[in-house]
Symmetry: C2
Subunit: 352 residues, 2 copies
């Protein structure tokens, strides 16, 4: 007997990067931050009373939303929190797109968008990147759709869209929703959050997984006009009343408050990114200028698949997709200086 | 401009019980456990290295699934973990029901089922409880549907279905899926989990929120045939690759291992439930025999709404629904002996 729904039979789920259990790899495949989260968390772990876990969390994560609002310069009513930014994006597809409200995104971008669209029965059009891997707003504007998903910086290319360009685009499509997926934005510094007050059609999605080094605690958020935030809450309340657990809420609040540590971690990753890009260019790789915490490197003497497999054998994990254009490249997360040094050493060996 | 999808415009979301922020109420409204989780958690909080949070969790929560399998007497491949049992139920609706695979559940049961069905476009039939609030398997069997949702013990009545009755029913509908929602089962001790090996059409859903006193950490799980578990994974991977965070996984593992504490907490709640039921009957309430950690009490001198409001004024929160049949009752979570003493004292005052 098969008990599967149409949906379960037809979907092609998203495949996340490998998460090896032994941890003996140098792990440059899932864009985790090489630096730990703020050391202030140690105090929270010591002070937190586990007895408090007998209660359900605050269903709207109000305390964390207030902290985020404070940090992002918005009001609490402009913030929505979810169990990772993937969940927030999933809910955004449910809230703002349907069979008559189609979506538009780049042909090379975060591959979860396609999965979200399919699972929600949302038709979508993809727009090709231009020759230097940039998203061209003119081409997006021409698409027939109810809204856009724009990863900025884009994944897996790392290429960014300057704030002025995002504003011009958002202003030019007032009747369409613009979802700016800013998972990696802290490594770029051109966030659209300040535009949210001005543009009712703009929803910015961010995460604690990358710049805050908290991929393991699962928290993401959206910033937008109160009406958009209300749409996300409506969908959340059809799925899970309490998506963000009480301890996660406390962890993210502590991380948000340590602005200095956050800024320093971001600075270290960005400076190491630039150094690593230089080394990869020296080895003959094509590497688009990245504004994220990873580099998209390819077209050296070997294919993406060959590089990926050879590095894995050498104990270094990077991300590889066997798809047109992508298969010429690997996506390499920026590691610590020592991890990057080993990566380059292994690549020299592989290419020689 | 309205950017809402059809879905967002039409849904009536589930409303969870109040979660007052001040905590000055005696909170008997959301079926939380009055006792704290295992004191062993204190050691975990001290020993856990926050640096580990920079990594994504294991996407399938393998370590926790192994612990659950061990505890439930199944294999790891028979276990699925999610961000609370509500999320697991949401995914079950997505995986096993669709417009051509309708669902069936009792007319008075966990009200989230209706919300899940609607959000997934699943037609559903409801079957009335019989006169003493029991779910009658004969009436369920007669329903035209692809599967059943059976809360056992049922919410908000607390009435349970004995294991033998559940087995006879499951065996009689081999082509239909039976989802046994056992959120409160540990307070009853008639779990269907041992039947999973024998019946490919049975999915049991459980939670850490109630008997483990971990509502705040958000974790639920399903036990079923590997094919059903695969269906849940397919849906999870269309929504969120990492629904269970790394720390939550560790917390639930520790809670599972402390069998003695769990048994003792359950014993305390059950004994207090029986004592409290006696007091409510003495006050003239109609109280169906409960197998859960709450009591469904009504038809005393005042309506459910009057009792609810009067208790709230007195600083005691209980759950009330302004709907046919339900409006005659309140659902009262079993508290600590002291909380229950105060409840009875306040009820005496209100009814006098």
């Amino acid at each position: 007997m098969n008990f599967f729904s149409e949906r379960a039979l037809s979907v092609v789920p998203y495949t996340a990067g490998e998460q090896p259990k032994d941890r003996r790899y140098i792990k440059l495949n899932t864009n985790e931050n090489p630096y730990p989260p703020t050391p202030k968390l140690r105090e929270l772990f010591s002070a937190f009373d586990p007895s408090a876990l007998k209660y359900y969390p605050a269903p709207a994560s109000d305390a964390l939303r207030r902290e985020i609002a404070l940090c992002e310069g918005t009001e609490t009513e402009n913030v929505f929190c979810g169990n990772g930014s993937d969940e927030v994006l999933y809910l955004a597809f449910a809230a703002f797109f349907d069979r008559n409200r189609s979506a538009c995104f780049a042909d090379i971008t975060y591959s979860f968008y396609e999965v979200f669209a399919k699972i929600h029965g949302v038709p979508y059009v993809t727009v090709p990147l231009d020759h230097d891997f940039r998203i061209d707003p003119e081409k997006l504007r021409a698409a027939q759709c109810a809204g856009y998903l724009i990863a900025n910086p884009n994944a897996p290319t790392g290429v960014g869209i300057p704030l002025a360009e995002m504003e011009a685009f958002t202003a030019s499509v007032p009747d369409k929703l613009v979802v700016a997926d800013e998972a990696y934005m802290d490594f770029y510094g051109q966030s659209c959050v300040p535009l949210v007050r001005k543009y009712k059609n703009l929803l910015v999605v961010k995460t604690f997984s990358k710049s805050y080094s908290l991929a393991g605690i699962r928290c993401g958020y959206a910033i937008g006009d109160a009406a958009l935030i209300d749409g996300l809450f409506r969908m959340k309340d059809c799925m899970n009343s309490y998506p963000v657990d009480s301890f996660c809420e406390a962890v993210c609040s502590v991380a948000l408050q340590d602005r200095e540590y956050h800024a320093e971690t971001v600075r270290l990753v960005v400076s190491e990114r630039e150094r690593l890009r230089g080394s990869l260019l020296d080895l003959g790789f094509t590497v688009p200028e990245s504004k994220a915490n990873f580099l998209f490197a390819g077209k050296a003497k070997k294919s993406g698949g060959e590089i990926y497999r050879a590095l894995k054998e050498e104990g270094v994990l990077v991300r590889y997709w066997d798809r047109p254009i992508l298969r010429d490249f690997c996506r390499i997360t920026v590691g610590t200086p020592e991890e990057n040094r080993i990566l380059i050493e292994k690549l020299k060996k592989i290419l020689s």
